[in-house]
């Protein structure tokens, strides 16, 4: 069973221009005591706030701006679904700029994503992210190393090893989604100057050396993305990069996430 509830507290975004991002409620809200009315903040809470800040800046520059993040809160956990009023009231309590609430089962949540024109799906569940990716929805895995750092800027890290186009092999179904999402990020960046951008985009390449990194920089540039920080690791440990850059999420063309 699939249901969508509009959040009447929030002005709905223009479907033709908005960038729809779905986040699982499991990631946004921590557990609260049963008696509490409101959930605690989960690990993706700072991420949501950062997305909201980008919207605020975009609207400050242009009150008629249509290129905005449209956040969908997705609940697949049947236990949480029973708590749907609490999910909605918690969202309102924190003033989160969530446009819609989607409730569905594990079996049909991907349909839900597709129907809602979701351009990026963020989950703490590897299985969910993998399923969505296979159906062509760009996904990223959230965990405690990412997502949860409070920051003035939305920090997105591209994993360059996946950005470089391989010459052979089938194109991953989510590649097109990755291309268009990054192009939209680039479009958002162009609304700002360097010194006042609420968006910070990084690139990290792990395998290969400087030429791989150069390739990835060229590819992202061709998509209109302006990379602010670049790290070419040549197989050096990348834990330090994550802990210093503190991305909210990691994007690779196929499955996003911290592999290996």
């Amino acid at each position: 069973m699939v249901s969508t509830v509009l959040n009447t507290d929030v002005k709905q975004k223009d479907a033709d221009h908005a960038v729809v991002i779905a986040v699982t409620s499991r990631a946004v809200f921590g557990s609260g005591a049963d008696d509490d009315e409101v959930y605690g903040e989960g690990l993706a809470f700072p991420l949501l706030q950062a997305l909201q800040r980008v919207n605020e800046h975009l609207l400050m520059n242009n009150p008629a701006e249509l290129l905005l993040f449209d956040i969908v809160l997705l609940t697949t956990d049947s236990q949480q679904q029973q708590q749907s009023p609490r999910i909605i009231s918690s969202t309102r309590h924190y003033g989160l700029e969530v446009g819609r609430f989607c409730f569905s089962s594990e079996e049909d949540f991907v349909e839900n994503l597709l129907k809602n024109n979701v351009q990026l799906f963020l989950s703490t569940d590897r299985n969910e992210a993998s399923q969505a990716t296979q159906r062509g929805v760009l996904s990223a895995l959230l965990d405690h190393q990412t997502a949860s750092c409070p920051s003035e800027q939305l920090k997105v890290l591209f994993f360059g090893d996946a950005v470089i186009q391989p010459d052979t092999g089938p194109t991953p179904p989510s590649r097109q989604a990755a291309r268009s999402f990054s192009a939209q990020l680039g479009e958002m960046q162009r609304r700002f100057t360097m010194s006042d951008s609420p968006l910070s985009i990084g690139l990290v390449t792990w395998r290969g050396g400087r030429d791989s990194c150069a390739d990835a920089l060229h590819t992202l540039r061709s998509r209109g993305v302006r990379v602010d920080e670049a790290y070419c690791l040549a197989e050096a440990p990348w834990g330090p990069i994550l802990s210093v850059f503190r991305p909210h999420f990691l994007l690779s063309d196929g499955f996003g996430g911290l592999e290996g």
């Binding site: 690139l203 050396g209 030429d211 990194c213 150069a214 920089l217 920080e229 670049a230 790290y231 050096a236």
Partner: protein, 372 residues
């Protein structure tokens, strides 16, 4: 992808010499035989470049783009016209490689040592690992990579932090030495226990060896702590000598570059183990204003107690360092006093300032210390 790397076709058609003239303004281009070696490797299907070592095994040298290359023109654009114009300029000139900067000869010498180490110990990762660490914006990345390719440098790791502090990365990669044009960044690194020094572009640079890495160190506040300098500053030369005499058998405390001398020593021992002491491609020098007969003894005893060998110790007893350095021609000379750094640079020595210790609180021109 646009690269500036040499390829076999260019080698064969003699275009190599044109590229070399452009990049070797200080005579430090690779010999033709080295480039032929690279061509042969590609020809035989061997991997063109070896893999960089793991950071924990290597001696990690982090250099900023402003000391590895000459970027004065771009700096000016940044200062006069702001960051957007600066980035636009960089992208416009993306295919123009930067010219070598003050740290370039040092980095080339490190690569020479690596080549020798790889010959003797093909499986070992105890090598120099050169990392480019820059506050620069990643927009400049492509131009930097093109430049690295053009000069055939072996740099496969870099951080372009777009303005944030790279100190976290320096620490994570266990950086053994950080060279930057910015004294504040250098001070930040020193405060975190990372050996670091500021380098400056000077117009006159004398030729340095292509076969032997030469590193020269000042003593007090560089290899050793600044404790003795403090005595001199507070109480004068006589008190300084008295203090050194009384404490001759007490070891000096260590200074910020002691660790770097130590890792150089470890690599030197690898050459000695293969019978290459006389032919060792690393040579270290102590160039100090201390005098051999008196205050120098404490310095030597300290080095010996630390188990550190230094190839040549030059006790100048207060004489100017410039002429001696001009004879040594180090790839880099570390000193804590700008007075000495500037003096060395005037004579064409590549000098780096270590902003550490008591000498930093004084005007450099007043620091013409004699009995340091």
């Amino acid at each position: 992808m646009v690269t500036m790397s040499l390829d076999p076709v260019q080698l064969m058609s003699g275009q190599v010499s044109e590229l070399k003239v452009a990049s070797s303004s200080n005579g430090n281009s690779r010999g033709l035989w080295e480039e032929k070696e690279e061509f042969d490797r590609e020809h035989l299907g061997l991997p063109a470049k070896p893999k960089p070592p793991k950071p924990e095994n290597a001696v990690t040298i982090a250099v900023s783009s402003r000391v590895l290359f000459r970027t004065e023109r771009e700096q000016k654009v940044f200062e006069q016209k702001g960051v957007e114009e600066y980035l636009r300029y960089q992208i416009e000139h993306e295919n123009e490689p930067f010219a070598p900067g003050p740290a370039f000869p040092f980095v080339k010498a490190l690569e020479t040592v690596n080549a020798r180490l790889r010959d003797l110990y093909p499986q070992s990762e105890e090598l120099f690992d050169i990392v480019l660490v820059t506050y620069n914006h990643a927009h400049v990345g492509i131009r930097l990579i093109n430049t690295i390719n053009h000069h055939n440098l072996f740099i496969e790791r870099f951080c372009m932090t777009g303005g944030s502090s790279p100190i976290g990365y320096l620490k994570a990669w266990q950086t053994n030495l950080y060279l930057s044009a910015d004294a504040d960044k250098v001070r930040e690194a020193l405060a975190e226990g990372i050996a670091a020094a500021t380098m400056f572009m000077s117009e006159k640079i004398t030729e340095v060896s292509e076969y032997q890495l030469r590193v020269a160190f000042d003593g007090d506040a560089v290899l050793f702590s600044d404790e003795s300098e403090r005595i001199f500053k507070a109480h004068g030369l006589d008190k300084f000598f008295e203090h050194e005499r009384e404490n001759e058998d007490t070891l000096l405390d260590h200074g910020p570059l002691k660790g770097f001398l130590e890792v150089l020593g470890k690599l030197q021992k690898k050459f000695y183990a293969k019978g290459q002491r006389l032919d060792c491609p690393i040579r270290t020098y102590l160039v100090t204003a201390r005098s051999a007969a008196s205050s120098g003894i404490r310095a030597l005893k300290t080095l010996r107690a630390w188990g550190l060998e230094i190839d040549e110790a030059l006790f100048l007893a207060g004489a100017p360092k410039g002429p001696m350095l001009e004879k040594i021609r180090p790839h880099i000379f570390f000193d804590d006093q700008m007075f000495h750094v500037e003096g060395a640079a005037e004579m064409g020595t590549i000098a780096a300032h270590v902003p550490y210790g008591i000498a930093q609180n004084h005007n450099p021109k007043q620091n013409a210390s004699v009995g340091k």
